[in-house]
């Protein structure tokens, strides 16, 4: 062991592992394969790795696991692959790993933010609620930006994450969470009958506490060796899936457990296509929680200096990684479990300066062994302070009842106040914990889901009990699933046993002392902060937590919650269970957003729906707009045209020759059955019974409340078959709405609904030349005006493929909508286009479609109506069957407010200056001179430049609009007021003669 090398030969399990180079804050170091970043830094004698959140105090490693509150670093693979707040105790080392410290400036050693520590008397818990209020706007302008700069930990990445993530839905009979001794036993037993078992563990290898507990002997093997052979036996079984580096982070309803598997973060050169992490959503018939326990620190003055850590962590670094955390080590404990750490280190040749044991008369084999090794044991004493700045250099001890102080030089201090069972997942499952007064622990009490807890998380004491619980739970799960099989049980021949401990602050960090005895390291919450919260009236532990932020840091209180609770209980002089326990919430440890998103990014964020004509439209240079998930051709600019020019040309061309429009996205539903017409009568406001086969009708659908829900043209193909169209956006909800009524209100009707939106590609050919264009291509249908008038439908063939040909119009021109089976769509479109171009026609997009329909005063549901508009409001009263006694919405329409005068009604609006185009959404007032707030009487729903009318046109919903024909109203804009005249909805061909050619 050289000056900067704390790796002990002959210790740990990494043996002669391959050396690995890495850097921390720009300085190069060497570790070995199998190290964590923490063990590698400790092997190099580096303890200082971070700064705390509020006071910027120097911090080192507290733990060797996921409960770590202090050692958070940034891991930078490249400019885009930067992860903040990574726990160095979890991050596995790889060649070339680059880590940087956080929350410090300019450097970790010299951090300007540390002035906060000096000013800490001012920064008591919740101090910010009491100040920064003057002058009034100074909070947002002055104080808040400063506080924000000081807060936060790491730096958020600023480039898009180039990595991929994966997901798997999985099902199993038994999910075992945790691969320590208890989980291994449970999985071995549960796997025995061949049922599907998943065993997951957050660490790279199974083994759990056997990582550090090196005295155990199971079935004649060393405990660790047994765990590895048990793991191998499980891996060898077809019915068992072992997931390592996999954290069960959330326990959801009905035994769904969320796991996240880390796949590449430990690799120097991951496969470029390999996902970084995988989200598992596991649905298990039975869940066995073997989540272990977490050691707690001691709460005493200056317990946060680098070099002060949990005893079990030091043991893990020694027994697994072969690293000594110091050379002159002190121990401060209130239970037996710190003794083995001292013993192991001593045996490895490290000097143990002293054990300070708060207990008056510690006894038992571990104490005896320590004594026999010559370790000094100071019982009935406490640590009252520590020395050192960037690393602990001394501890000062004193009898706990007061008296002479003694300062002992040390370079590391191990501590243990006992163990907290990890009931996080149990509690997330909505099981209720119960407080065990004897052991001062919360343990699983009442179960809410089909799960069991085994081992340390269930309060089991000792390895034998732990294994027994594991096997028993595995067997019980099988039995309840209807299987009997018994695994042979391993026998524990030797193990350590300890229990007990203390909660809260130690004597010497007592109420009267102005000391920093940290409860929550990361958030800098001290024992006196908790006392202050109680003094200020915080009675509920939830209030204490929120007021002090205890347990709200990235470790979510894994080491701090019980201490905080005990201190609050002590001040309130109430038993701990009366104070309550804060709710455990998912996730158990932080989960990468990317893993939760997994496949749903880029093109998989949301489906992009394209019609069969999309490729053709793209080739023609169409600009597309998003309409729901669809991409629709918006307009087709020619060289040198802007949108305005293109739309004007398209509109003009449709009315002078013809245009082709992709109407494929409209929803289509085939309504089939002898009661089809009866069903239509109930779902639409219009009458349908008398509509002849081969004819079409414009239908309006309401919600039960009387407001317009959807509209569309409906063709009757035969007595028992309707071809219904819906709006593009409305297609799925209209189908659901129809199914709802059919199945639950009108189940007596013999009729079925089938979505055919995507069966048919739809080419609208609109304009005076439309008939000439399609005539050469259509077979078996007489498309003359006499044989096929406006609003009719025929079945036949076009270009040799079947078609449902509609004569209908959304432009006011003679028009057809050619429905052809979708795979044939592109070929038919191209054939029609060949004809169309002979007549000077053009393709037109949704914008021109909007203008053309507005010229005719046809509404767009969702634009000219907004869920508060009745058919009457929209001027569509004619479409409501007056003699009908029932349809969806009939009663809603009669409600007092829906028949009251003064409703907003859809009217045409002409700007007094015809060149001015109103803005859609602009508000309308009667008196433009009134002060703000103005009385608004309506708004502009649709507004366009109409090349065909040679002026702007608009539609709007206006209070009592039908009574205001010819009235001048005003549209006040930010910088001007626009006068408009109220007019009818139709701006072009008011008599509708062009429909018929």
């Amino acid at each position: 062991m050289t000056a900067a090398n704390f790796r002990l030969s002959g210790q740990g399990r990494l043996g002669s592992a391959r050396p690995v180079g890495f850097s921390f804050d720009g300085k190069a170091y060497k570790g070995v394969e199998g190290d964590t970043l923490a063990s590698a830094l400790l092997a190099n004698g580096v303890h200082l790795v971070g700064r705390s959140f509020k006071y910027h105090r120097p911090r080192g490693f507290l733990s060797a696991g996921p409960e770590e509150p202090n050692a958070l670093v940034g891991i930078h693979r490249d400019a885009a692959r930067r992860a903040p707040n990574v726990r160095a105790t979890v991050q596995e080392l790889y060649d070339g790993l680059t880590a940087v410290s956080q929350n410090r400036w300019p450097s970790l050693e010299r951090d300007v933010g540390a002035v906060n520590d000096l000013a800490s008397p001012f920064f008591s818990a919740g101090f910010y609620y009491k100040t920064f209020m003057w002058p009034k706007d100074a909070w947002a302008r002055l104080y808040e930006p400063r506080i924000r700069e000081a807060a936060g930990l790491g730096v958020a990445p600023h480039l898009p994450d180039p990595d991929t993530y994966a997901q798997r839905f999985a099902h199993c009979d038994v999910l075992v969470v945790g691969g320590g001794a208890a989980g291994l036993a449970a999985a071995l037993a549960a796997a025995e009958s061949g049922q599907r078992v998943i065993l997951c563990d957050e660490q790279p290898e199974l083994g759990g506490a056997l990582h550090f507990e090196n005295g155990a002997v199971i079935d004649g093997q060393d405990g660790w060796a047994w765990s590895q052979s048990a793991a191998a036996a499980l891996r060898a079984r077809d019915n068992v899936r072992v997931l390592t580096r996999t954290t069960a982070f959330g326990y959801y309803a009905q035994n769904m457990v969320g796991l996240v598997e880390r796949i590449t973060d430990h690799l120097a050169d991951p496969e470029p296509t390999a996902p970084r992490e995988r989200l598992w959503q596991v649905r298990a018939k039975k869940v066995i929680l073997a989540t272990g326990a977490i050691e707690r620190h001691m709460v005493f003055a200056d317990n946060d200096r680098p070099g002060i850590m949990l005893a079990s962590a030091a043991r893990t670094y020694l027994n697994h990684f072969g690293v000594a955390v110091g050379r002159e080590i002190g121990v401060f404990t209130a239970n037996d479990s710190a003794y083995p750490a001292a013993i192991d280190l001593k045996k490895a040749g490290i000097n143990i300066a002293a054990i300070v044991d708060l207990r008056d008369n510690p006894s038992g084999p571990l104490v005896e062994e320590a004594r026999s090794l010559g370790i000094e044991i100071n019982h009935g004493r406490t640590v009252v302070r520590t020395g050192g700045r960037l690393r602990v250099t001394s501890m000062t001890i004193q009898p706990k009842t007061g008296g002479t102080e003694r300062t002992i030089p040390i370079d590391a201090l191990l501590m243990s106040s006992g163990w907290t069972p990890s009931v996080h997942l149990f509690s997330q499952s909505r099981g209720r914990v119960a407080y065990d007064e004897a052991s001062r622990r919360f343990l699983p009490g009442t179960y809410a889901q089909d799960c069991a807890s085994v081992g340390a998380c269930n309060g089991a004491e000792g390895l034998a009990a732990t294994l027994a619980e594991g096997y028993a739970a595995g067997e019980k799960a099988l039995k309840e699933l209807g299987f009997t099989a018994k695994a042979s049980r391993a026998k524990v021949e030797k193990a350590e046993t300890w229990g007990g401990g203390m909660l809260g602050a130690v004597p010497g960090a007592g109420p009267e002392k102005i000391v920093k005895a940290f409860v929550d390291f990361q958030n800098d919450v001290t024992a006196k902060d908790i006392r202050l919260a109680v003094r200020e009236g915080m009675r509920s532990i939830e209030h204490v937590k929120r007021f002090t932020t205890n347990g709200m840091a990235t470790d979510q209180g894994k080491t701090s919650n019980m201490h905080g609770l005990a201190i609050a209980a002590e001040v309130l002089d109430k038993p701990i269970p009366e104070i309550g326990l804060t709710t455990f919430r998912a996730p158990y440890t932080p989960v990468t957003f990317g893993a939760i998103v997994n496949h749903a990014k880029g093109e998989l964020f949301d489906p992009t729906r394209r019609t069969p004509f999309h490729g053709w439209e793209e080739a023609q240079g169409a600009v597309f707009e998003d309409v729901g998930q669809w991409k629709r051709a918006w307009y087709y600019p020619r060289k040198g045209e802007d949108m305005h020019a293109a739309v004007n040309r398209e509109c003009k061309t449709v009315r002078t020759s013809a245009g082709m429009f992709d109407a494929s996205t409209l929803g289509k539903i085939e309504v089939v059955g002898p009661d089809a017409a009866k069903f239509m009568e109930l779902l639409y406001t219009n009458p349908w019974a008398k509509l002849e086969a081969g004819r079409c009708r414009y239908g309006i659908m309401l919600r039960e409340d009387g407001f317009i829900y959807d509209d569309g043209v409906v063709g009757r193909l035969s007595d028992d078959r309707f071809h219904v169209t819906t709006t593009t956006g409305g297609a799925p909800r209209v189908m659901h709405h129809m199914e709802d009524y059919l199945q639950t209100e009108f189940p007596h009707l013999d009729v079925w609904l089938t979505s055919i939106t995507e069966q048919w590609a739809v080419i609208a050919v609109q304009g005076p030349k439309s008939r000439e264009i399609i005539e050469p291509l259509v077979e078996g249908i007489d498309i003359s005006d006499a044989a096929m008038p406006h609003m009719s439908v025929r079945e036949g063939t076009i270009c040799g493929v079947p078609t449902r040909l509609f004569r209908m119009s959304f432009t006011g021109e003679r028009g057809f909508e050619i429905n052809v089976p979708a795979d044939h769509g592109r070929a038919v479109w191209e054939a029609v286009w060949e004809e169309a171009r002979k007549h000077g026609a053009c393709p037109y997009g949704t914008e021109a479609m909007h203008v053309l329909r507005a010229e005719k005063g046809y509404i767009i549901v969702g634009q000219d109506t907004d869920g508060t508009v009745t058919p009457g409001d929209a001027g569509l009263d004619w479409a409501v069957g007056k003699k009908k006694t029932d349809f969806v919405g009939i009663r809603g329409l009669k409600r007092p407010d829906l028949v009251a005068p003064g409703r907003r009604q859809l009217v045409g609006l002409k700007t007094v200056d015809p060149k001015v185009v109103l803005e859609e959404g602009a508000q309308i007032v009667a008196d433009p001179k009134q002060p703000i707030p103005m009385k608004m009487i309506g708004f502009v729903t649709s507004s366009y430049w109409s090349e065909n009318c040679g002026r702007s046109i608009a539609l709007g919903l206006v209070e009592g609009g039908f009574e205001r024909m010819g009235e001048t109203l005003y549209v006040p804009m930010a910088d001007t007021t626009i006068a408009v005249e109220v007019c009818g909805q139709v701006f072009f061909d008011e008599k509708g003669e062009r429909l018929h050619g």
């Binding site: 991929t164 099902h171 729906r609 069969p612 085939e670 055919i756 995507e758 069966q759 795979d823």
Partner: protein, 183 residues
């Protein structure tokens, strides 16, 4: 639909897309006849006779006769697939039995997913249990894949047919490909 007389060419949504990733093959299915059939229990025998197979009545099952398959989708709903060029709509033409038959041949597109990890790939986006016990060969179900609806048919221990509406086909294919890269 008389394919032979067709002059307008057919173009599928997934033409020219196919891939083999991590041993999983993703291939667009050939065009097929598809029919959405709705009927009541009393009329199934008559319909089955015309179609040449007994319509399955147990959930999540399908029936096959040669190149024709009937997939149970709901208690009164079947998806009839014909991969052999026989139009089931023609078979039911004129049948005077209460039912609804709607041609959806072009509405759907299918991706054939085969390979040892086929189920794992689909389970990247489909929340059903696809083990052989829960979803044996011949099992079928309407379900979801990521953000779309699919109809899943297991055609072999390591082979599935994933049907979806045609405008979702690109999403489905891309999803399966992304999933295959991640298994």
């Amino acid at each position: 639909m008389a394919e032979a007389a067709t002059t307008a060419a057919r173009r599928g949504m997934l033409d020219h897309r196919s891939d083999v990733i991590n041993g999983v093959s993703l291939v667009p299915a050939a065009p097929a006849y598809r029919m959405s059939l709705r009927a009541r229990p009393d009329d199934l025998v008559a319909l089955g006779e015309r179609l040449g197979l007994a319509l399955p009545t147990r959930p999540k099952t399908s029936a096959s006769a040669g190149e024709r398959h009937a997939l149970w989708l709901g208690p009164d709903e079947w998806l009839v697939l014909d991969l052999g060029g026989r139009d089931p709509m023609q078979d039911l033409a004129g049948l005077q039995v209460l039912h609804s038959a709607v041609d959806v041949s072009h509405r759907n597109t299918a991706v054939l997913v085969t390979g040892e990890k086929a189920a794992d790939v689909i389970n990247a986006g489909c929340p059903q249990d696809l083990s052989l016990q829960a979803f044996p060969v011949g099992a079928c179900s309407r379900t979801v894949l990521g953000k779309i609806e699919i109809v899943l048919l297991r055609t072999g221990e390591d082979a599935f047919r994933v049907e979806c509406w045609r405008s979702f086909a690109e999403y489905a294919f891309s999803y399966l490909a992304d999933a295959a890269r991640g298994v």
